[in-house]
Amino acid sequence: MREIQSSQITEVVAELCQCANYELPEDVVEALRRSREAATSQVARTVLDQLLENARLARDEHIPYCQDTGLAVVFVELGQDVHLVGEDIYTAINGGVRQGYEEGYLRPSVVADPLDRATNTGDNTPAIVHLRMVPGEEIKLHLAAKGGGSENMSALWMLTPTDGAEGIVEAIVGRIQEAGGKPCPPLILGVGLGGNFEKAALLAKEALLRPLGQPNDDPQLAELEQRILAAVNATGVGPMGLGGGETALAVHLLSYPCHLASLPVALNVQCHAARHQSVTI
């Protein structure tokens, strides 16, 4: 049994919120660079140059990478031998989001009521927290500052089992074509396969946490990732929907067993502002 003070979680989350918004992870920057070299039109090259310059400015001049500094999504792997002292874990995380967004001059982007939208919570809380118990006495926190524009283009389908891989590719390609430049391509696509209605969506989001371009461990699923990526890039949507380059930098897929009557498929669309940070306490 290990004791961890809840204030430590608050501090760490505050730091992650700022870090995520000012420092685009190196794997994403690298993918943008590679994409810039592969671009075939001047407009695509210009857009990708702007994004690379934007990442540099965010880090060096300390300006948030994007004005949509995201909804804070926190995946927690809580060691079952941890005894948390102080506040409950949700309060501790939200305290960190509040502190991180305020001190970091990040935009409060949360309205208290989805219908009556008059009240902004003012501090970007509440965060979306996904908690999982794991063996051990550590706490692992992954934070994603997830933008609304790309999240809006996400989708979930309850396909027919016999639709198979082809049905999955078709659904995803259709959605990306429809989305065009709206979600700020080049994109990273999180795909959740199987489980049920809510599990598929969660898998899709979780898949985005993987280091960019790292394939699924299962060779068959890795092949499906490549197939989806090739099909999405064949749409010609391109950077900002202007063609001349890649629509997606990577496809990350996670799967889970499911009911014999179902084939749930979720697509979580991530823009180039793939702001993820992790830490282990």
Binding site: N54, I63, Q67, Y105, R117, G181, P183, L242
Partner: protein, 185 residues
């Protein structure tokens, strides 16, 4: 898109003779005053227009930027300030073009009715690079809240921009920069 050197410099306000020369895909640098407004501000502007009430800004000849910036630290004019998805303002845009707005700035494709409205009223839809909030903020030299302050990041701000980089998305002749868009008519 033409390289930087080929970008056309435009002083705001836009005039009809400049608008008519621009074509979808043209690279443009804007200098002058523009106003930010996004979802909530649009709803209020439209309600006020319908009710015949006075608006916080003069729409005639104006440029509307779909943007909700991050808070500015004391040493800066504004925080990150890139465009938001334009399609969410599609239902409002034709009404605002009819009321005198000359151009809107945002990101992504829009409904057909917006392209039609641009042609009908001789207006433009301009696009800025989505997600380049840090970079675009450097082209903003002044910012001031001028309406609906209670909306926080969604308040209307008057921005002074200097050589703000945009592309012509929809021109006044029905043309579109987006490959999938079919011809009007």
């Amino acid at each position: 898109m033409p390289s930087e050197s080929e970008a056309r410099q435009i002083r705001l306000p836009l005039t009809a003779d400049v608008i008519v020369q621009l074509r979808a895909g043209d690279s443009v640098r804007l200098s002058g005053a523009i106003y930010t407004a996004r979802d909530a501000a649009h709803q209020r502007l439209i309600s006020a227009l319908e009710a015949g009430q006075q608006l916080p800004i003069d729409l005639a000849g104006s440029v509307i930027y779909y943007c909700g910036p991050t808070p500015a630290p004391s040493e800066r004019v504004i925080g990150a300030a890139g465009p938001t998805t334009s399609s969410r303002m599609d239902t409002f845009a034709p009404r605002l073009y009819a009321a005198g707005v000359q151009a809107t700035i945002g990101k992504g494709q829009r409904a057909l009715q917006v392209r039609q409205a641009c042609r009908k009223h001789g207006c433009l839809y301009l696009i800025a690079t989505g997600g380049a909030g840090a970079l675009l903020s450097l082209f903003i030299t002044q910012a001031q809240v001028v309406g609906y302050a209670d909306l926080g990041p969604e308040a209307i701000r008057k921005l002074t921009v200097a050589e703000f980089p945009v592309l012509v998305g929809y021109d006044a002749h029905g043309g579109s920069i987006f490959a999938g868009d079919e011809d009007l008519d």
